[in-house]
Amino acid sequence: MPSVDMALEQLEHYNGTNPRPKDFWSFWDIQVKKTEQMTLSYEIQKSKIPESKYLTYYDLWFTGIGGSRIHAKYLKPKIQSDAPVMLQFHGYPGASRGWFEQTSWAGLGYALLAMDCPGQGGYSEDKIARQGTTASDHIIMGLDGPVEQMYYVQTFLDTCLMVRIAKELEGIDHTRICINGASQGAGLGLVCAALNHKDIVRCAALYPFLSDYKRAWDMDRDLVVYDGLRYYTRWFDPQGLRTQEIFTKLGYIDVQNFVERIECPVLFGTGLMDVFCPPSTQFAVYHHITAPKKHLIFPDYAHEEIGAFDEAVVDYMQCKEDAACLQ
């Protein structure tokens, strides 16, 4: 079997390297509570895409954490009054994918919300001032200040606001809120499913990013998407004197620490040739999921579109029975 990481037998038993802060859940419970108490503020406008007989395309803007104006694409089928809704999260450091790509879920009667992450390749702004370098990468943004200022603390909480908005939208079946994402989108999706475990009924995650930072750094794979780790440690801790402290702090935004709270069945996918998000960092996440789960492994695929996973996601989402949806 070709390999860019441990042997598959080892991956199947790998539980993660990155340290976990002792007060992980007490920190996050406070953040989630504060977010729940925020007054929701959002507006919905028709987008530039003409509406069809079946579907309307909207831009949705909401006030996110720190007062940032956050953008999401919102697609709403016309022919159904109780549409399930898909929360779609995008890869790093881009934007929600194009309107036509987002239309696939409408083919199955879903409404869809696709948030642009603050300050990345879409239209969402990032108004939060932070301590520390801003020269590279969002993983390390805010790493020198209070934990709640870290970029991904903000962004994870923005996904909670997205769920709250989904629960207010008209014509939506609020008992069928589903999540789909790849890479950063899978990381955000898993965290969103954990922090909103009472509301999310499905979560599909393909090669999640934002996990087991220490492992990516140890492997010298702190390149491309994880390159912030390389910059930060070379610039601010060149002798490795603060390694434990740095990675413990990153533990607050490590996806593997969240997933034990997920309650819905999870469909998970990994390409074993992935050099951006090393397979071990993904397996660490998978192993910490305690809900029903299924891991589809693609030995010949890297960090790329995997059509076979997409087909599996459709059947998993469409199956309403929790007990059967992973079969």
Binding site: K48, I49, P50, E51, S52, K53, Y54, L55, L75, P77, A95, R97, G98, W99, F100, E101, T103, S104, W105, A106, G107, L108, G109, E305, G307, A308, D310, E311, V313, V314, D315, Q318
Partner: protein, 305 residues
Amino acid sequence: MPAIDMSLEQLQEYKGSMPAPVDFWKHWMSVTSKIDAMQLSYRLVEKRIYESHCVYYGFYYQGMDGQEHQAKYIRPATEEKVPLVLQFPDYNGVSRSWFHLMRYAGIGCAVLAPDYALSNYEGLSGTIEELPVHQIYTEALLLLRIVSVMNNIDQASIHVYGEGQGAATALVVGAMNPKIVKTCAMQYPMCCDYKRVWEKDYDTGAYQGLRDYFRYQDPEHKTEQALFEQLGYLDAKNFAPYVKAHVLQGIGLLDEISPPSAQFSIYNNLSCWKQKAIFPKHGHELNNFFENTYLEFLLTFGIDK
């Protein structure tokens, strides 16, 4: 403006490096006659039913070679006549995933997406009819004829789409069926201005056949003129003047697979209603912005609201 080819001003005027063969149209009319004489044979096999939304079908049809060929077919779950997009695969010959194609169901449209199984894919030896690209165009024309007799399709709303080689194929189908094809959308078309591709030294990847032909079969280029004349029968820009559909074409100015000049030779030979989307910092790649434009184009000129 970044450039790997002519300046944009030159590109806007460029119409290709070689004229069409004198009997170009005669040749393709004779191909069409053969297709028209074919006994059509196709069948549908249900693959997945997503109740009240859409149905996936395996679509099997008898090709020009008498063999059974396959395509993916998705249609909205309705008995009503629906618009149809015929989406042709790029150079790898593989249709996009079911999930990818389901976007058409979201706007109430059926999609038919063939797969190709051709051997000797890059060969340039043999008669024009034996060349793989000729076979691809011919099969595509046959498929359109099948679509044109499907009775649960809105025959006034048939569209063609493709990327790369699939884009050229879509254009050919549009050119040969001006009364049937309503819109034709192309992203970074290939199979155009072969001589220009070769002169720019871009005969790698999908055009590797050109390089291999000269290096291994004709290193002294004794047949160069004849080869490029023969390829004129397959050059998408020679079909362009015959297209009557609304056309959308996407072009990345940093495209090193299908050089921008070759793509402009198609666009500048179109005399129908046409729209181009130029991406100065994109290469041979799909991008969200083109897909947005394609969706707007389809909803504006194609799919009935």
